[in-house]
């Protein structure tokens, strides 16, 4: 996994609440057996007409948001299906950070596995960032994971919380499986003990 570096980039506003993973990547695109190539279909039904033409007033189709790297979104972002195709599509589009008041649990975890930083902030601060994002491409935000800050185009720095282990993995681009396999002796011991205690499993 790539290391998560400090980003300074365009933030796009998507204030709609409950943006679900069917909106992020409709199921017709889940039939690929690859992890890449989903970016073109990110938010497909909101972004294109049935004929494949761009819908001009969808935020990511506007000229000032085509290079979006940060998404500022409404509450409960990523609810619904467990499909990791959702973060794959977000990443493939070029978005590396999503900011909201809350995220659905599985989506939140899936982001970290793909080098995407989901940031949870209180409503008032998301409102500030949403307003900043609405300014378009001249309003570039900075996300500094090391310092745990989002800085608006006006220079206002907002601190955020992040799980220490997840931060460490993102900053260093660490592979979870590799880390867990280092604990294989503990897994062996657990299996031996549980085979005694719960042999029916």
């Amino acid at each position: 996994m790539d290391k998560f570096e400090t980003i300074t980039g365009v933030a796009a506003p998507m204030p709609l609440v409950n943006i679900d993973t069917d909106m992020i990547i409709p199921k017709v695109f889940l039939k690929s057996i690859q992890r890449t190539g989903f970016g073109v279909n990110l938010f497909d039904e909101m972004r294109y007409t049935r004929d494949g033409d761009e819908i001009a007033d969808f935020v990511l189709n506007k000229p000032q948001y085509r290079e979006t790297e940060i998404l500022v979104a409404g509450d409960n972002f990523g609810c619904g299906s467990s499909r990791e195709h959702a973060p794959w599509a977000i990443k493939d589009f070029g978005i590396k950070c999503v900011i909201s008041t809350s995220f659905a649990d599985i989506f939140f975890n899936n982001c970290f596995k793909n080098g995407i930083l989901p940031i949870v902030l209180p409503q008032e601060q998301v409102d500030v960032l949403m307003k900043d994002a609405e300014k378009g491409q001249n309003a570039r935000m900075t996300i500094d994971l090391e310092a745990q800050t989002v800085t608006t185009s006006d220079g206002e720095a907002i601190s955020f919380e992040v799980d220490a282990f997840k931060k460490h993995c993102l900053l260093n681009g660490l592979d979870d499986i590799g880390l867990s396999l280092e604990k294989v002796a503990a897994i062996d011991t657990y299996e031996e003990k549980s085979a005694q205690a719960r042999p029916w499993v």
């Binding site: 609440v17 409950n18 679900d20 889940l30 039939k31 992890r35 049935r50 995220f103 659905a104 294989v184």
Partner: protein, 468 residues
Amino acid sequence: MSPKTIYDKIWDAHVVQEDADGTSLLYIDRHLVHEVTSPQAFEGLRMAGRTVRAPDKTIAVPDHNVPTTHGRENPETMTEDSRVQVAALDTNAKEFGIHYYPVTDVRQGIVHIVGPEQGWTLPGMTVVCGDSHTATHGAFGALAHGIGTSEVEHVLATQTLIQKKSLNMKVEITGKLKPGVTAKDITLAVIGETGTGGGTGYVIEYCGEAIRDLSMEGRMTVCNMAIEGGARAGLIAPDDVTYAYVKGRPHAPKGAQWEAALTWWKTLFTDEGAHFDKVVTLKGEDIQPVVTWGTSPEDVLPITGVVPSPEDFKGGKVDAARRSIEYMGLTPGQKLTDIEIDTVFIGSCTNGRIEDLRAAAEILKGKKIKVGMRAMVVPGSGLVRAQAEEEGLSQIFEDAGFEWRLAGCSMCLAMNPDQLAEGERCASTSNRNFEGRQGYKGRTHLVSPGMAAAAALTGKLTDVREMM
């Protein structure tokens, strides 16, 4: 020792290692796999030269993509990309030596119906699957939740997950349900109360008399939609109803092991005085047959209600409700029972079990669906289908004008050819009414099986109590 919830107990029994900050390696007892969220995980294993650590605890079944029409064992009946996914599961199951139920096997079906049916799901287990409706298995007093594909790969390689413990939430349904009110109405009513984010960060324990009174099928329906309320998992403490369901299943313990298992299972309850971080209580007698009007499972109202106005809501939900009402083609103030439908879908991991089919057949017996209505029943597994045929239910459905299909996820997520066309409106026993969920610009109203059957007869959303 401080009192524990059932979630605390199952969690504690599965911690392999815990770091100082609470990040834990949690052992996984059962890993269910289907064709859509697993190919990249198996490919990842292959690329890294890794193997499946516990193939005996890994069970695969194709369900999301497969056609539900006859002749589907012929790959020609599938679109090219579906065929590739199912073929990949086939190859991966054989190569890595995991349990597998292909479409040619009568035990094939929706992964969350097959697991319990075959006795793979047992009380006190940790169960995961690359599917959010894994919460279903919580009905057995198991800790069960959905995971993404990277985590699927992690479980395949290590039989563990890196987790932090969730908070405890109690959802109590007191008293008795009124006639015509089902497990589906309970679970939708709870989401209507808490919102789709109300369970975020929690594991829910459902309890109370109305929950205890449910069959295992009903309990699975309730837990299935815990995810729609945002919870990581939903579970119900095991009891005699659970043990009676599990006993004698192909992979359930037998003999002395059964007795040993039972002894442990009987310790799986929440201790008196255990702490819950959040409590929601509903009175069973207050719950009515409900339907969804919008495009989020929290958009729930009793069937006797009217379509709300965006102004009835607060904050970001005002715009979301406006968008939903427009998408659904409804008018604020319109009576829900005046909403005309053209499609009925009975099935899914929420309501594709035998009891669901019985409830629908009870309403349909000796009647015909409205002329022009497209209606289908998709049993949750080949065994549910066989049992329904034995009980004469399939005949009732076919006589009424329903299509009687083979098992799969079908129109719940419409990855296979079972889809809504643009503007079509469906009364569906599935779990999600998201935009486009059942087909591009399709419109979904979530209901119980009895309500779906009633709607098929009248052509409108209908109060099932008027048909009883």
